[in-house]
């Protein structure tokens, strides 16, 4: 019997040595996923039969000595924001209910080329707008640590499924923290790569200049491996970086002796829960113990990150979501004329948060307001980039909490959008700057016994430094491989 808490890297070794087959591994994850589904509601569209077929094909390849990769046959799952040929893809929205894409996202295609069976499509906040999963048009996933609590968002389903041991790893997307924040709230690893490292082709757009495909896993090494499989230039995405991608695993064990890690002065104050601060402070000490030099740095522009984000992201979203008009695909409201049809389609098909952001963005781009809102937000974005560049003259990495709080209760923030928006206060600046960031578990909060995440922020395209530090921390801490690192579900 395969243990679904085993990291993917180890499962790869087990397959190579003949101790486990891809079919056994895949079946074990399917069974675990089915067992926990009632508690976490992670799946929107399971593709279990297909996963088993793909696993058997992987076993055949390995028998013939034609394995596509070291992890050929280890299953994965996708946030429903990725389009999958022949499998419904909704981005968590009723407006795309029933749409079956005729093509695969580049990330999906590359994982398929590496032989990874697809377990299915997972729940999310509608169009990736939200920090709790509650904005899903189809229910909403729950946190495996406490089913009364949210798993975070917008990549709610993948975070919940990986944390519950229902998948070794999964792809989400991170626009303002949508992978790092749920990873923190669910006690797993979430990586937001440098903007442009992974192709956005086939990722249903929320905010094009911020969206980035981002992996979840239970270990840093697994997250790095999954990222490696899909990243690299894609001619279908003009914003994808043409540079050659380094091997993320190369030197991941090298430790952090002498590494300079900056702690953000502006994030040290009241903002975070005491229990979160306790665990994050302990994490800084552990990094120091491991040889890193911790120094305080100042990023004065970061406090404007949320304001700038909530102008830029909705502005881009207002255009990105204009295509959902009932004309070509997805839901169409019955009506006698085109104007009524389109407005009713959008009225019925979009949820409240999506409508709120479309209106925000439309307003921010309107004649006479553009400079005051969108234009000013772009200037803040430039300031954040400049502040970060200055900071990286002094340090190699920046450390801070991933989320100011642990997982909150379902319904606790739905009536207060601003409180919800502040969930992303520590993650949003990284998207605005285009840098890489990772959330790695740093224990359970003494306040409520729920997971806390440590965020490490690297320079653009310096994922290797980030993985090296996160891996050193994780190995020394040992939490994820202990019984405490597994939710009680």
């Amino acid at each position: 019997m395969v243990d679904t808490w085993t990291p993917a890297a180890e499962l790869g070794h087990a397959m190579a040595s003949g101790d486990a087959s891809a079919e056994e591994i895949t079946t074990a994850f399917i069974e675990r996923g089915q067992a926990v589904e009632e508690g976490i509601h992670a799946y929107l569209a399971p593709t279990f039969e297909r996963a088993v077929d793909e696993a058997r094909a992987a076993d055949d390849r390995r028998t013939r000595g034609e394995a596509l990769s070291a992890v050929d046959g280890i299953p994965l799952a996708f946030k429903d924001v990725f389009v999958t040929k022949g499998v419904p893809s909704t981005s968590g929205s009723r407006i795309l209910d029933g749409w079956v894409p005729p093509y695969d996202a580049t990330v999906v295609a590359r994982c398929s080329e590496a032989g990874l069976p697809m377990l299915g499509k997972l729940d999310m906040d509608e169009f990736a707008m939200g920090s709790s999963g509650e904005n899903s048009g189809f229910g909403g996933a729950r946190n495996p640590w406490d089913a009364e609590r949210v798993p975070g968002g917008s990549s709610s389903g993948p975070a919940a499924l990986v944390a519950a041991g229902g998948a070794p790893w999964a792809w989400g997307t991170d626009t303002g923290g949508s992978v790092r924040q749920p990873a923190a709230l669910c006690g797993i690893v979430g990586v937001k790569p440098t903007y442009g490292l992974v192709s956005r082709y086939g990722m249903i757009a929320f905010a094009s200049s911020l969206d980035q495909a981002s992996p979840f896993a239970r270990t840093v090494e697994d997250a790095a491996m999954l990222l490696q499989l899909a990243c690299g230039h894609d001619p279908m995405d003009s914003t994808s970086i043409p540079d050659e991608v380094p091997d993320f695993l190369d030197g991941i064990d090298a430790g952090i002796e002498g590494m300079r890690i900056g702690v953000v002065k502006e994030f040290q104050g009241e903002g975070a829960q005491p229990g979160v601060r306790t665990r994050v402070d302990e994490a800084y000490k552990r990094l120091e113990k491991l040889g890193a030099k911790i120094e305080e740095i100042s990023l004065p522009s970061f406090e404007y990150g949320i304001s700038a984000y909530y102008l830029i992201a909705p502005a881009e979203a207002s255009a990105n979501l204009a295509r959902y008009d009932g004309v070509r695909y997805g839901y169409r409201a019955p009506a006698d004329d085109i104007v009524t049809m389109t407005s009713h389609t959008r009225e019925d098909g979009f949820g409240d948060e999506v409508k709120r952001r479309i209106m925000l963005g439309t307003y921010a781009l309107s004649a006479g307001y553009y400079d005051a809102y969108y234009g000013k937000a772009l200037r803040v974005r430039s300031l954040i980039i400049r502040d970060l560049e200055k900071a990286y003259e002094k340090v190699d990495l920046i450390a801070c909490p991933t989320s100011p709080t642990t997982a909150f209760k379902v319904g606790e923030r739905t009536a207060d959008p601003l409180a919800m928006y502040l969930s992303d206060i520590y993650t949003v600046p990284v998207n605005l700057a285009g840098n890489a960031g990772i959330s790695v578990p740093c224990g359970l909060s003494p306040d409520d016994g729920l997971p806390v995440g440590l965020q490490l922020i690297a320079k653009a395209l310096d994922e290797r430094t980030m993985f090296r530090a996160a891996h050193a921390f994780e190995r020394d801490f040992g939490w994820i491989s202990s019984a405490e690192g597994r939710p009680p579900l």
């Binding site: 249903i204 094009s208 255009a319 204009a322 695909y329 553009y370």
Partner: protein
Amino acid sequence: MSTTTSDLYETTVGLEIHVELSTASKMFCGCGVAFAGEPNTRTCPVCLGMPGSLPVVNERAVEYTMKIALALNCQIVEHSLFHRKNYFYPDMPKNYQISQYDYPLGSSGVLEIAGGFGTTRVGITRVHLEEDTGKSQHIGGSGRIADSDYSLEDFNRAGTPLVEIVSEPDIHSADEARVFVTDLRALIETLGVSDVRMEEGSMRVDANVSVRLKGAAGYGTKVEVKNMNSIRSVGRALEFEEKRQREALMAGDELLQETRHFDEKTGATSSLRTKEFAFDYRYFPEPDLVPFEPSPEWVEAVRSSLPELPVARRERFVRDYGLGEADVALLTTSRATADWFEAAARAYGGDAKKVVNWIIADLFGLLNEAGIELPQSKIAPEQLAGLVKLVDGATISGKQAKSVLVEMFASGKDADAVAREKGLEQITDSSAIESVVDEVIGENQEAADKVRAGNLGTIGFLVGQVMKKSRGQANPKLVNELLRSKLEG
């Protein structure tokens, strides 16, 4: 209306011209570019605006646009980018159009036109690149969207590269507008970057027309005229609009700033929408594309690849062939017509003016009747040269040549073949004529004697007799010479 009253006013016209580029593939995807075809067969996720799809710029389209801009003497922008232009319409897949806004590829150009009005330098405000929409077909009602039963959408055209050329308001009459459009069409045709077929919509012209009192400080109320589907329609629509506005002003009526639709059948314009419906397009930089900078080397390479442009060609026609301006204007309305003339002139080798006379005085009439252009006619340039040579050699008379041309035009046969078939060829073989001359002298001794006696007036009678006997086929000049040599000794 007295001349003096109408002289108080002046007309101002600015044109906005859209040209579909004849690149092999569309602006942002790999689908083919072609006219018509089975609906929705030249489409893909990108040009259908499917969720997750992304645009990639067709560099050839940028090059073609640069050719147009350079041929119009524009400055090429150093730093350019695309914007999103937001508005809802069912034939627009994304409900935004990727276009250019404040950094068009070309700006500050000029096109000099000449005609009955003299010479006018028309400024070119901008030349920019964008994507075309699909086509709507409204079924039932008047054929407009408002009262139709339903609409069909064809996205074959969606995403075709489209160049927008905006002129300064330097045009002051319908005639100038007609010549401007004619010359611009010839210019773009010469560049080989578009079919420029107005009736198929690969070239579309909108006009901004206003009338003001001569010497007034500001422009009059601007009216936009749409739906002019031929150069003739441009002239008719602007003549109508100019007259309508002048009459309104003279009657003391106020003009509305509005968009008016030209009806080809009635020759009149009617109101489509007034200014209250002005759109806010909420332009913002397209985040799915990166800004681009045409390198000076590229610009120079494109500039040096430009073919001989119509203005230069016209100057050469005047200089090298000694043609008048009016004839040159007629010969250079299209590149194909000018090429045809040059081929005929080369094949002929003699005074090109003779070839020009045949083209303008005769061939154009036949083309008009047949409703075709010179290149589509059955007659080849070499064949026209052959006809002119037959006349030169006195094989047929000029009058006969006209009927030969009609037959050549209908059948595509060579001039001498037609002349032979028609029995039109004059007998220029002196031995053949000589026997007839001898016969006539024998039969008309009395008249012959008079000639011998020096009464040269009688020779005309004898020539007439020979012509009669030869049923008009003898060359009269030759007959005359033979009679003289025989009778004058």
